[in-house]
């Protein structure tokens, strides 16, 4: 017996030695791209540091673009010249374009190889956020939803209660009118309708509406939900006194304490805290509720998409993508941005973020809205970005009071319909 054991051990020894030799790959360098370093840099640095301890043989070279748009251009250019990075984090609404142009790869087989995705924290809802073009084109890294930022001092001066804010739009609009009535250049509210269709979809989804029909053959926003959404914007202007500000102007006015209520993404929570400093008491809250049962909110943010072709690099890039979206990576991301965690384990297990949210209550408004958040709708076809601009241009007519919601909605519907892919 002792002999047999030692002999077996002797036989196993080379095998045991060989395993780490085989598994410890030669050092690999991967190129990882992400956008908006002013928001994300600290989170990626923290994750890369933790990752380096686990995978010392994987070196990362970073590539950044100031915004998602330039990030998209970069990847499309690199794809044309065969110089793609190995991993790229892109805005959710751009993923569809990469999926349709054959640049993104299906991640589900890789995920399945590691076991049940849900057990790893990737619930169906989380996977759906980066499911475009009919396959799992990315893994959600950071998610945001729209929240209310408010200036508690102005709310109080206007006779409101910062601890018991109105929960519906009618209440918010009345409060905004009272803040504007304080005079002295104070503005009541700003709903960030410009730039893209994201905030408009917050109103549309809030009514339980949707952009296109289920089969994506025709628009679905031209009905009651779309009309009510435009009427809400109209009411913000007419009754809430919403001024026609640019996004930057609104942010500056808010930070200067001259704007009462500001509705935009939770992604800017960290930046807003820094800008406001001690100018006034900053609070955050959920979006006003439109339809408590059917109402939903859009999800913004970024997802990692795998673009590596070389097997060794692809393997290494996948490992980083997995780590960055694991419970541990997600917790690091949350603490270094203003985004919502995208791994169910990190959400459920208080070990990861419990203490952080206790100490930083301004970050919790968005987390509480996660249950009603659905994917940011990306339009199909080559004109997807132009559709977004068309909607924004039409909403501008309502904000500038050049046309009524009843006039704008049919125009918007007709113009968007022309831009949808023609199918037999």
């Amino acid at each position: 017996m002792p002999f047999a054991l030692s002999r077996r051990a002797a036989l196993a020894l080379p095998a045991a030695l060989a395993v780490p030799v085989v598994r410890a790959q030669a050092p690999v360098t991967i190129t990882v791209h992400y956008a908006q370093p002013f928001i994300f840099k600290e989170s990626y640095d923290a994750i890369a540091e933790a990752f380096a301890k686990r995978e010392p043989n994987i070196r990362i070279e970073w590539l950044t673009t100031p915004n998602y748009e330039e990030g998209m251009q970069l990847i499309l250019r690199q794809a044309a010249t065969n110089q793609l990075p190995d991993l790229s984090y892109q805005g959710f609404n751009r993923l569809r374009l990469f999926a349709e142009r054959g640049i993104a790869q299906d991640l589900l087989p890789l995920l399945r190889a590691e076991g049940d995705p849900a057990a790893l924290g990737y619930t169906p809802g989380i996977l759906a956020l980066a499911h475009f073009g009919g396959f799992q084109s990315g893994l959600a890294y950071a998610a945001s939803n729209p929240i209310t930022y408010y200036n508690a001092d102005l709310v109080r001066r206007a006779g409101g209660d910062p601890d018991a804010m109105p929960t519906d739009w009618a209440g918010h609009i009345r409060l905004a009118a009272r803040i504007k009535a304080l005079g002295d250049g104070n503005e009541g509210m700003f709903f960030r309708w410009s730039g893209d269709d994201w905030m408009f979809s917050a109103l549309l989804f809030g009514h339980g509406g949707r952009m296109l029909t289920k089969d994506e053959r025709d628009i679905a926003f031209a009905g009651r939900e779309g009309l009510e959404s435009l009427r809400l914007i109209d009411a913000m202007v007419k009754q809430g006194g919403m001024a026609n500000l640019s996004t930057q102007a609104a942010q500056q006015a808010f930070a200067a304490g001259k704007l009462g209520l500001f509705y935009w993404t939770t992604a800017v929570v960290r930046g807003t805290i820094q800008q406001v400093g001690s100018n006034f008491a900053l609070r955050t809250g959920p979006m006003p509720v439109i339809d408590a049962a059917k109402g939903r909110l859009p999800t913004g943010g970024a997802a990692g998409m795998l673009t590596a072709r070389d097997p060794a690099k692809r393997d290494a890039a996948w490992k980083f993508l997995r780590f960055s979206t694991s419970a541990e990576g997600t917790a690091l991301m949350v603490q270094n941005t203003g985004y919502v965690p995208m791994n169910q384990i990190a959400i459920d297990d208080p070990r990861f973020l419990g203490a952080f949210y206790r100490d930083n209550p301004l970050y919790t408004a968005a987390v509480r809205q996660v249950p009603i958040s659905i994917p940011w709708y990306a339009f199909p076809g080559a004109n997807s970005v132009r559709v977004t601009q068309t909607m924004v241009d039409n909403i501008a007519r309502v904000v500038e009071q050049r046309a009524t919601p009843d006039q704008v909605l049919p125009d918007m519907a007709a113009e968007v319909r022309r831009l949808l892919p023609r199918r037999a």
Binding site: E69, A79, N244, A249
Partner: protein, 305 residues
């Protein structure tokens, strides 16, 4: 060895050929740079303009004049062309006349000539993107100094950069501010080139007062300068992009959409590089035509050699 080669080679080339060779060698770097950085990209753009190339899509197809036909019916492009014309129509004359006025004033002043020249020229050398941020603050509807003044005076406070009524005017004002120092310096150079004796001669011939001097001597002799300034102002105004990109992104509802911004949007946001190249080509033709036409037509009438 090399010496031997050198002496052996020399007799075969005449002095003139050597000089020509040296000339070509000296021109080579600039020629390569011109070819690689200007001519070849321009030719590539011309070719792209006749394709349906989209960034990231399959190989481009030759579609002939379809892009140009599209341009004729593109409502966005028409708005953009109209806005650009309006912008040029405000900025170019204002910076030519304003620059002339400033040049005359500064030139007439006894002291502080260098100071005023520097003050008015400063906007030309400053980075327009950085300056746009400063303008954004100045014109900020609620916390900006301009509207604070207006509010104090009890006047209406427009949303300078976010209302479609005022956005183009605000951008034009920034454009004038950027260009006026440039035209001023050009006019000042033109003014110093006018011989003093002509003013004396005009006085002898009975020219009285500043207006006569300007009308009879300064203005005619500034002809070549004025022609140059007019053309350069038109082209500079036509090229407006930075302020639009930083301040308004063409909004609201295309009220500040200008040609170069449309070209950028089409090519890099909507990814239609072929169409974008077609717009670029038209833009290039307009600029070249402008320069050719102005020089040809006006050259005869303003030349006092």
């Amino acid at each position: 060895m090399s010496l031997a080669l050198g002496t052996a080679a020399r007799p075969r080339l005449s002095a003139g050929a050597m000089e020509a060779l040296a000339g070509w060698a000296l021109m080579l770097p600039a020629t390569i740079a011109f070819l690689a950085m200007l001519l070849l990209p321009t030719l590539a753009t011309v070719l792209l303009a006749f394709t349906d190339y989209e960034l990231g899509a399959a190989a481009p197809a030759w579609i002939g004049l379809a892009n140009f036909a599209d341009m004729l019916t593109d409502r966005g492009l028409r708005t953009s062309a109209r806005n650009t014309l309006a912008y040029v129509g405000i900025v170019a004359p204002a910076s030519v006349l304003g620059g002339l006025g400033l040049a005359l004033l500064v030139e007439a002043g006894a002291r502080g000539r260098a100071f005023f020249r520097a003050v008015f020229f400063l906007p030309v050398v400053s980075l327009s993107v950085a300056m746009a941020s400063a303008w954004q603050y100045l014109l900020h509807p609620t916390i900006g100094p301009l509207n604070a003044e207006l509010r104090a005076l009890g006047l209406p406070t427009p949303f300078w950069l976010s209302s479609s009524d005022t956005v183009l005017l605000s951008l034009a004002a920034i454009g004038i501010w950027e260009n006026i120092g440039f035209t001023m310096v050009l006019f000042m150079a033109g003014l110093t080139a006018i011989p003093r004796e002509l003013y004396a001669a005009a006085a002898v011939d009975g020219a009285r007062g500043a207006w006569d001097r300007f009308r009879l001597v300064t203005w005619p002799l500034l002809g070549p300068t004025t022609l140059f300034v007019v053309v350069i102002s038109l082209v500079r105004a036509l090229r407006v992009f930075d302020t639009v990109a930083v301040l308004t992104q063409g909004g609201p509802n295309k009220a500040s959409e200008v040609l170069l911004w449309t070209m950028y949007q089409e090519g890099f946001t909507y990814l239609r590089l072929g169409y974008s190249a077609a717009i670029t080509l038209v833009f290039l033709v307009v600029v070249l035509a402008l320069m050719a036409l102005q020089t040809r037509v006006l050259d005869r009438r303003v030349h006092y050699g």
